[in-house]
Symmetry: C2
Subunit: 339 residues, 2 copies
Amino acid sequence: MKLASLKHGRDGKLVVVSRDLTRAIEATQVAPTLQAALDDWPRAAPRLAEVAERLEAGLLPSFRFREHDCASPLPRAYQWADGSAYVNHVALVRKARGVEMPPSFWSDPLIYQGGSDGFAGPRDPIPYLDEKFGLDLEAEVAVVTDDVPLGLGAEAARARIALVMLANDVTLRGLTASELAKGFGFFQSKPASAFSPVAVTPDELGAAWDGARLSLPLLSFVDEAPLGRPNAGVDMTFDFGRLIAHAARTRALCAGSIIGSGTVSNRAADGGPGRPVAEGGVGYSCLAEQRVVESLGGGAARTRFLQPGDRIRIEMRDAAGHSIFGAIEQEVVASRAGQ
Amino acid sequence: MKLASLKHGRDGKLVVVSRDLTRAIEATQVAPTLQAALDDWPRAAPRLAEVAERLEAGLLPSFRFREHDCASPLPRAYQWADGSAYVNHVALVRKARGVEMPPSFWSDPLIYQGGSDGFAGPRDPIPYLDEKFGLDLEAEVAVVTDDVPLGLGAEAARARIALVMLANDVTLRGLTASELAKGFGFFQSKPASAFSPVAVTPDELGAAWDGARLSLPLLSFVDEAPLGRPNAGVDMTFDFGRLIAHAARTRALCAGSIIGSGTVSNRAADGGPGRPVAEGGVGYSCLAEQRVVESLGGGAARTRFLQPGDRIRIEMRDAAGHSIFGAIEQEVVASRAGQ
């Protein structure tokens, strides 16, 4: 089934969405919000699935679903733990900074605790605060978990994945280096993330979902120009089972925890960095990586970070070309706050 | 007024508590949970204050309040952003590790994004997972904010402080160094924190509260032996206004965000590290700091980290010796999970 939260109060209003993203039904008779449904998932999930089935069969009155009416599926959450599962991406960025990457990064997942108290909606603007902040997108896959007990293993963790969605983990590149140097993780460099209009249960993903990894191209665009289409199932060093197990090593995770994959990134066929889309490669899921590749190729980075008026789009299509999660479409808008 | 959450479901049941912590009244007619009250604070706060007034006057039927029935005031939260405002503590710990502290740490606040999806209750056990993890307490002061707009300044941020409470930011010292080295912040090294049974509005603190700083000794005990009694108003390099402004520099903060002070730490009169309580000093708010002082004095650290069966206690008393927030009292209990 596919679920969304229409903008309404702080936590949205839960709706069940048709597979083709055209129709929806309020699910408030099951749970008022997605978090409320997740808090009681073993009871709520089958009831929501029943609504979804009747919606597909046209047995219930429905209304037209509009992605731009959506908040993020969880407009705020109790946890947003974002991994860096495509170690290729981390290695590249470090290489460009001339910093050696510890070999342990290939065996020990990197995860940072992200701010989860207020996500942007999938069609909300991205505030542009300061040229120096170096505004960037990061296209990712994310999962929402049911309750995860302390110390659960990676294999068992797969069964705790309730929903899958896409994320734009907005990043201020001008602030990441100093925050990394402090060692305390990202804070100011990570303003509000946004998620796809729709979150789907893993069974909607068919053969593209192996239980812990989603093998489809993740499409990113800046001003309608394709930035990247790397396959999210390729070069993912740590799958979602591993990421959840890492997060739950010393504490339980509450239902509704969001675990992110980190920026999706594929190597080129020769094992080196992927090439830009314009040169026939699968491109990148953030501007920083494209800039890194430009600078590694000799010369300066040519790609600029986001500016007011820029529009980004992130989506994923199934084998038949249909949008699975709806699209994250955000415009960068100048803001006076925070300067 | 004083508020608490009795254990009940995932988010507790909101009660108003008498000033002397002996009686309570359910506040569910105002809001079912503390988060719900904070979500509508300008409307809920005066109504809760009215209940508190009637409770003090004996005008409403009340029941006996027991601290051990409490969850943390917010049993889970949308944000737990923990500062390191007593830079003295950071400088000491770095000195012991032989690592230079950047001078910017005295002017640019350190804050890490903590896990907030499930806090321990103030009387809940602390799971002991592995000897190598080096289990430690960290006694802190924390505030809960109302909504904070993006870019709010430090002075204006003071008025967004809705509640004050105490925290035990449980820390696994054996995991902090490797997580600091990764740069992505603390994750596995910070299992569930616990907060005092009661959260209070700033007006309850009288002259001890200057709007952004609480000038009273923070008392910590391990197995009933005093570990520390540093004054939380002394050597706090960044007050809560500064910490909130830092957190809100690039994004708004949702009502119910918890901002922590970091481990409270005072220097000795000569400007050097504080002395242990046993030697007439004000002691420490975590075992790591006592160990650092032992090792700086030549020789090895003698103080051991927490073991199963140990009990910690954290509280704060007003000028008349009365407990303000109730006590965090946690026993360390061996757990098989997570190994």
